[in-house]
């Protein structure tokens, strides 16, 4: 028979309405469907009527061993869960529902995790040395968001939470550490300071190019360095100088001697010519 009460073993033919409100014998509401055995049962029925086939005696099925049901389950749920859940009554029904929905949640969570992993690995197949790899980011998430696992356990609608979690995990990976950047370092150096503030927000189609390093100078430092380079002579320290040849060539006055405090002694040729006249 295709349907068998998992509690008492009574079998029902396919399409039977006797099992709609539970097993008439024991009240159990868990049934297993086994078309292979039903075929053999039907063939046996064709060969000859089997006494007790409607009596609910599991042994009446003949070739089917009592424990064979667990090996023939095709509904995807585990045998152990089915065995544990066979209690009969309304409580068993509720528990069965919760268990089936839990399996859906787990499936969604798995899919979310798989999606998360897929995005990390396929979209960023080539990882720059300075970028964090997915496994590192996963561990960082665990450290940075300890409430996530408890929140996930408490969420009633875990399918939505799993999807939301998958989305936020991708975004939040970049936000606190600034790893999401839409431009290269070379382009950033010429940007205004205002653009540096914009980098705090991930671009719509940005991707992780590189992670800022601690030794990269700020925009202000770069600007100050540029300004300093326009000086004719920069005194790095006593005895160490940097010279801007173009500036030295272009200036009207003639630097005769240097002072360590950064002052020059200069000669203005035009003034000498005027005084000479």
């Amino acid at each position: 028979m295709p349907h068998e009460c998992t509690n008492c073993g009574r079998t029902f033919p396919d399409g039977s309405k006797k099992m709609l409100s539970g097993c008439p014998d024991c009240g159990g509401n868990k049934f297993q469907f086994s078309p292979a055995r039903s075929a053999s049962s039907e063939s046996a029925t064709l060969d000859g009527p089997q006494a007790g086939s409607e009596t609910g005696d599991p042994s009446a099925a003949g070739e089917v061993p009592p424990g064979g049901a667990s090996t023939e389950r095709v509904d995807g749920s585990s045998a152990s869960r089915r065995d544990d859940g066979v209690t009969g009554g309304p409580e068993g029904s509720d528990r069965d529902d919760s268990e089936s929905s839990e399996s859906v949640r787990e499936w969604v969570s798995r899919k979310a995790d798989q999606n998360d992993h897929r995005v990390d690995t396929s979209d960023f197949a080539e990882w720059p040395d300075s970028a964090r790899r997915p496994e590192d980011r996963a561990s960082a998430d665990g450290d940075s968001d300890p409430d996530r696992s408890t929140t996930r356990a408490k969420m009633v609608d875990d399918e939505n939470s799993a999807q939301a979690d998958a989305r936020t995990s991708v975004v939040s990976d970049g936000l606190p550490t600034g790893t999401v950047e839409g431009t290269t370092d070379a382009a950033r150096t010429d940007d205004d300071p205002a653009s540096a503030d914009e980098d705090d927000y991930p671009p719509e189609h940005g991707r992780v190019v590189s992670e800022p390093t601690g030794d990269r100078p700020s925009i202000d430092e770069l600007r100050a360095e540029l300004n300093e380079q326009f000086e004719s002579i920069k005194i790095v320290r006593p005895g160490e100088y940097e010279l801007n040849l173009m500036e030295l060539y272009n200036r009207e006055e003639y630097i005769i001697s240097l002072q360590e405090d950064g002052r020059y002694v200069i000669d203005v040729p035009d003034s000498w010519r005027e005084s000479d006249n």
Binding site: P238, G239, Y241, L245, Y254, I255, P269
Partner: protein
Amino acid sequence: MGLLTSIRTSITDVTDRLFSDGEPKRIGIYGPPNAGKTTLSNRIARDWTGDAIGPESHIPHETRRARRKENVEIKRNGNTVTIDIVDTPGVTTKVDYQEFLEFDIEEEDAIRRSREATEGVAEAMHWLREDIDGVIYVLDSAEDPFTQVNTMLIGIIESRDIPVLIFANKIDLEDSSVQRISNAFPQHETVPLSALEGKNMDEVYDKIAEYFG
């Protein structure tokens, strides 16, 4: 002393300009430190006047003030070309006293040399702007000519539109490569020589007479 000498030199230059048009052309001998500029200047001065211009040394920035030898008459093919030779300090974008410490110079003296060398670069650039009619650019042919200083200085000289000759010095060295210099500055004529050993000086004087006569 150096300051007073420089002021006197400037006054002399001004008076020379005011009262003597058609005076000998001032040929500046430029290049990076340790290229052999003073050795070349002394070689030319000795060959045609019997006097040297300044002390030579293997220590970089030995020449920290521009020195001039006036009225050097070079005779070529029956003609006489009269020039003033200005030996300039080596031009660089960075001077560090620590490079002098390698030559057993005391730190205090090294710092002073470094400051004077920096002043010398400023003076060399000033001369290039104000007082130079032609340039002999001296390079160590055993060194890489593709440097920021060389590129910048050659560019400045070209912007002045004054005649320039490039001398590939130190051809006596094993690592010398005149071709490397020719490739670096193909727009200018490169003359190989060894100022120290006096190699190829005939061609040097021919080119000086041709370019600055």
